[in-house]
């Protein structure tokens, strides 16, 4: 949507906002930073993926990519990815997007009454304790009917956090109103959108861990010189660099596929691209986090040192939006079914088609 220059401005804006905030704010991830959220809302960042006609900022996934990378880089304690996904999901499903903070449920258990009241449990809701409404897919409906369940007094929160301290709550309700949207409007499920968002965040967080490691290696002295001057350390950091580059390329390409969904990119193409990107990002997390901690040694394992803010998120996000087994199985099944004769032509056809959007 935005041209390159506008996107760079958006990236710079997000970067400045998050850098200033993380310098001043307390860094415990579970502590949702309400003041920062208000600033982000003012800048239109959470509503980036909602069309302007529906009150959003009218951006696309390539715009979201730069914002989410900045959020991942600075490890901001905000439900930015979650709100972006939930708001776009509601918008494309034709549900009025509320102005409160939105999240989504990974699974739903309970009863949906004809009078549009839901009674049951919403599981794995990121930042659920702060959410004003939650989007979900109605269970037992294979076509995936999107729902938006409003937060009411009837809700109770069972608090859970991932290893990074980010809330991943269960919400229990005795009766809350819900809205119903169009089933599978663009062919992609919440899970797949989450995978793309996590890719962008992972690319940002890996970059931060790499930068911190390079800086540390340049100042930490042993045997009379900076450890970054030892070839053994340089080679490890260089390999870390190649993994960061791979994750970043994968995330950027997946976001581009999302931006061109329905316009050169089919839902099936997008699913392959998203799966490949999430899998590649997950692989990069392995090398990245182990090298970052190896270079930092003991200091990296302290609570007050900031490396953990990147690495704990990376370890958590590796399981969110599909882990290695989920995606490698899905991709493997698809590739085997198509066979050797189609592997290469499928691979090239996706990029050829994505390159020619109808404008």
């Amino acid at each position: 949507m935005a041209d390159l220059e506008q996107r760079q401005m958006l990236a710079d804006t997000a970067d400045r906002l998050f850098a200033d905030a993380t310098k001043s704010a307390e860094t415990d991830a579970a502590g949702f930073d309400a003041a920062l959220w208000a600033q982000a809302v003012e800048l239109g960042l959470p509503s980036l993926l909602v069309p302007e006609g529906l009150g959003g900022a009218g951006g696309d996934w390539e715009d979201a990519c730069v914002v989410l990378q900045a959020a991942g880089f600075h490890a901001v304690p905000l439900p930015l990815a979650e709100h972006l996904i939930a708001a776009q999901f509601a918008a494309v499903a034709g549900i009025d997007v509320p102005t409160t903070m939105l999240s989504f449920a990974s699974a739903v258990e309970g009863r949906f009454s004809a009078s549009r009241t839901f009674e049951g449990r919403l599981l794995g809701v990121p930042w659920g304790r702060h959410a004003g409404a939650v989007v979900a897919l109605q269970p037992d409906r294979p076509d995936g009917v999107p729902l938006l369940i409003r937060r009411s007094d009837a809700f109770e929160v069972e608090p859970h956090v991932n290893p990074a301290g980010e809330p991943r709550d269960t919400l229990v309700t005795r009766g809350s109103p819900f809205l119903v949207g169009q089933p599978r409007p663009d062919g992609l499920l919440l899970h797949e959108r989450l995978a793309v968002a996590r890719c962008a965040q992972i690319a940002g967080a890996l970059r931060a861990a790499l930068q911190r490691s390079v800086e540390y290696a340049g100042t930490r002295k042993q045997f009379g010189r900076a450890i970054g001057q030892f070839q053994a350390v340089q080679q490890q950091l260089a390999q870390f660099g190649t993994e960061v580059a791979a994750a970043s390329a994968a995330a950027t390409a997946a976001c581009r596929a999302m931006a061109r969904l329905g316009n050169g990119v089919t839902a099936a193409d997008a699913r392959f691209t998203i799966g490949a990107a999430k899998l590649r990002c997950n692989l990069a997390i392995g090398v990245g986090t182990s090298t970052a901690h190896q270079v930092h040694a003991a200091i990296g394992f302290t609570r007050e040192y900031d490396l953990r803010r990147s690495t704990q998120r990376l370890w958590s996000w590796r399981s969110e939006g599909g882990n290695d087994r989920d995606w490698s199985d899905r991709l493997g099944r698809q590739v085997c079914a198509r066979g050797a004769e189609h592997f290469w032509s499928d691979l090239t056809a996706r990029d050829d088609a994505a390159s020619s959007p109808r404008e």
Partner: protein, 387 residues
Amino acid sequence: MPTPFTFDPVDLPPGIPAFRAEIREWLAREMPRDYPSHQRANCWAVYDADFSRRLGARGWIGMVWPKTYGGHERSPIERYVLMEELLAAGAPVGAHWIGDRQTAPAILRYGTEAQKQRYVPAVARGECFCCIGMSEPNAGSDLASVKTRAERLPDGRWKINGQKIWTTLAHKSHLIIVLARTSPQDEKNRHAGLSQFLLEFGTPGMRVQPITDLVGEQHFNEIFFEDCIVEADGLLGTEGDGWKQVTAELSLERSGPERYLSSMSLFHELLRRVGPDPASDAVRQAIGRLSAEIWTLRQMSLSVAGQLARGEDPYVQAAIVKDLGNVFEQALPPLVQSLADAGVRLEQDSDFVRTLALLLQVSPSFSLRGGTREILRGIIARGLGLR
């Protein structure tokens, strides 16, 4: 973080799908369906002079060069697409690969008018094959320590003495660019005093001696120069600028799709062997992971091609793609071996086993040729600001 670690996606121009179809149609005619799979492996080391001449006649060597010198003035992205299609199909492109990729481009960049006219059109026709005269017995990764000497004679000609080694396809090539010392080594400026020379095979004083590789094939050689006389116009570019010229050549050498596709035919063989619905979770998941890696490497390689097409010099990015690509194409054969069902033994005679056995043995060279893993990671470390 410095920009070398970003890889922006490329938009391929609109004509690409049609061009791809044209290449595939041509390859289907030129490479029979029963073309052996193990010859599709590492195919840019497979010599087939006749294939190269047919490719040249089709206009697919020297695609981006000026028409004046036998080129076809197509775009760099079209050339990239041709490269990846030839490699993915396992076409035998070894004879002309070096000339097309780096020798003729170096001549076009640094050569005299006479040199361009003499060599470039012949390379484009697929008739002049080239090789790389960089490595020496004591100058591998440390290329600046080359000892081959070129001495200017009073009449302006040059006298070359020394030795090159690991020269791929020297015994079947017509032309070599030799990196030689033209002034004594200066320990304070090791990169100074080097120059490049164009030598035609058959020049008196030049002797090629084959070296058999570990699988018993002959593809690389030693070359000895004994008072080998080169005409004055054999100098390529500027005397003393050899290092700068060679470094530019290495950028071209490192960035292409050949740095991740060398084991592709084995991936295809694996897919054929396991069939459309493999029962094993391990096999399915490994195929999924390999597919994700191939997809990512292609995104990165395309991105570098886009940067080159815009006239940028993605020196660090090229090193990143080559390092990641080599790790991948090198890890693939042992992974496939570990996944193969119990019925596979390496003495068996099938496409799958022959391809696997060959790649198991030659893939260690993938992270040596064109810059070792250690050298590449040194370049990447410098890109990170560590050196």
